[in-house]
Symmetry: C2
Subunit: 373 residues, 2 copies
């Protein structure tokens, strides 16, 4: 069996909710192991969670996708004996490739105060042995080449690898949101960010073409790799049923330039409706500013006017380069940038600065037009 | 005189808006020089902007706070002559401290196709001279120690420093937003992110105590260092006038636990009102998820219900550690973390999962209660 030490971040800070959040985090870790077909037991003590598994190397990659964790380390265990600990530390240093050209530091953390040496004393003893054996130099800065960690609890745990995880909050502790997912780059990133902040996501896609629906569903598959403890069940809305009346009405009125705005309103209303059904408290969109002419503040105002659920736009303050970097990191970029099937209803010059008054008049005209037709 | 070369990012991509955006960017650069009391002229050619100033070193720091720019380089100019360019490159290498232990690369960019050598040929010629003089090794990777840049236009411009700027869009091209600014860490960062995305900000602060108002105003001073081309004019709302009726009404009804939610609604309504006055299209808040019990999704739903302007929450997908890092970077963290004066109306157990139905009933009861009192 191999042991993995998992560190959590913000979770540790939450006074009142600490136990609920930790329980949820452990549950999500178990769901992660189960979903990826790995055996293992999950326990926690002090500020740490432990996964004991026959396949630690295989477990690292999925475990780092459990939100709420900030980093992971495969550890080896020794008895609470200074010489055993020192020997094990030398073994780790060898595995990490320590040599005279590289610097190292020892970072002991004594949670068990019954151990006779305190942390600086452990650092000093083990560090001296390291210098003798490898001729390497001690460096206390954060830029050191190799860090050997030693955690002293009822046993000693040693590690030399710290694998960063994504941080955030345990998925599920912050409630549910409906996330609109298209075939593009932005929307899966937006959904992922809310998942990272503890939300269970209900993905909604408006089908427009097989190509784009395939991309959206493939991206939801990628998001599923982060959604431990919550099943992502996409709702695919039929384009025709939802949007044909709007598009045809606008054509008859000669107001095609409003197509994008009114389609988005129809989709948002459908998303709010789904939010009520599934007891979700908000709708997430991939809106950012200035990317295309229709993603303007006036359009955002007109599009969200009167929507009954809050609209969350986690990308609103991000540059396109930052969004693309995140998309690559989470694994959706290559899917989003496959051949695309652009919307066939895109008007030649979509409105970029509509007003609420114009919108209200147009929606009245559309309703009247529909009654008469 | 000294010349600074300024690179812009997303701006370059915008087909239709390119000229408007570039004009705005140049205007903001001029405003930056003027505001910081620096002389200089601004021009642009090709994909570059140039600032010619007697004090280039002093101009670098303020100029990197002009949104839309991605990086800056102080450059020296030579004639379009290969030997003059090579000599100048050696001079830059010396200034950059090139020696046999460090690697370098030459990155030529020939915008002027009349120059007889193409970019790889320039790189090769200058690189060879560099190896002969310094005994340093060429390295084509991005991790190289020293990069010497050579831009060939109607003259040759050389540089060895690339100072990163913040990216984003030229402030002002995306319209106006009202930003709520408290004395805390989050709200100035939220406002800054929308400024970075091209919005002119109208700061609104609700005065609660002198301490917190001082912090908010000092933070707005920090934001002013990024707001070139737009004057930040804070509106300070009087706590008593706006919130006393709400707070007293809730006390009489014995519903103090709703205080935070109804205060936020009153502040948001005031912010929407200011947005209408100043033709702003949205309200920006520093909301993030899970920080305090009252920053929950159900509360966000109840707080924003029925607000006439879109509420933008750029921090909604960020961890506290990320928000703090940004606050440090932009210069607001130390102000936000000064001694604080907590709100005196904070109820013992604020509501964390209010519903729209409860809200509606309460607002009716408050209105009735007010009529009767």
């Amino acid at each position: 069996m191999g042991l993995i030490l998992l560190r959590y971040g913000e979770v540790a800070l939450k006074g009142r909710n600490r136990h609920i959040w930790l329980r949820r985090l452990r549950r999500n870790i178990r769901a992660c192991l189960e979903r990826t077909g790995l055996e293992g037991t999950v326990s926690s003590a002090g500020q740490r969670i432990y996964v004991d598994t026959p396949t630690p190397e295989a477990a690292l990659e999925p475990l780092r996708r459990v939100f709420g964790l900030v980093s992971l380390s495969p550890v080896t265990v020794t008895a609470l004996d200074l010489e055993a600990i020192t020997a094990e530390a030398l073994h780790h240093a060898e595995e990490a490739g320590l040599d005279p050209s590289r610097s190292f530091r020892i970072q002991a953390r004594r949670a068990n105060k019954a151990f006779p040496l305190n942390s600086p004393q452990i650092n000093q003893h083990v560090g001296a042995a390291m210098v003798r054996r490898f001729g390497a130099s001690v460096d206390l800065s954060r830029d050191v080449d190799i860090t050997i960690g030693i955690e002293i609890t009822d046993r000693a745990m040693l590690f030399h690898r710290i694998i960063p995880a994504f941080g955030g909050l345990p998925l599920g502790v912050e409630g549910r949101v409906v996330a609109l997912i298209s075939g593009g780059i932005d929307s899966p990133v937006a959904a992922w960010l809310l998942m990272k902040r503890g939300c269970s996501v209900i993905p909604v896609h408006l089908s427009q073409s097989e190509t784009e629906t395939r991309k959206a569903l493939d991206n939801i598959e990628q998001l599923r790799r982060y959604s431990y403890g919550w099943e992502l069940r996409p709702s695919v809305l039929d384009h025709g049923a939802l949007l044909d009346p709007v598009i045809q009405g606008l054509q008859r009125l000669g107001e095609e330039r409003w197509t994008c705005v009114l389609c988005k309103r129809a989709i948002l209303r459908a998303a709010c409706d789904i939010a009520y059904q599934y007891r979700a408290q908000a709708v997430v969109m991939g809106d950012s500013l200035g990317q295309v002419a229709s993603q303007s503040l006036p359009n955002m105002e007109v599009i969200s006017y009167g929507m009954p659920k809050p609209i969350l736009r986690p990308l609103i303050g991000m540059d396109k380069t930052e969004i693309i970097d995140l998309a690559r990191e989470i694994g959706t970029f290559d899917i989003s940038t496959r051949d695309s099937a652009p919307c066939t209803f895109l008007p030649e010059s979509p409105i970029t600065r509509g007003t609420i008054q114009q919108l209200a008049r147009l929606e009245i005209a559309l309703a009247r037009e529909k009654e008469e037709s």
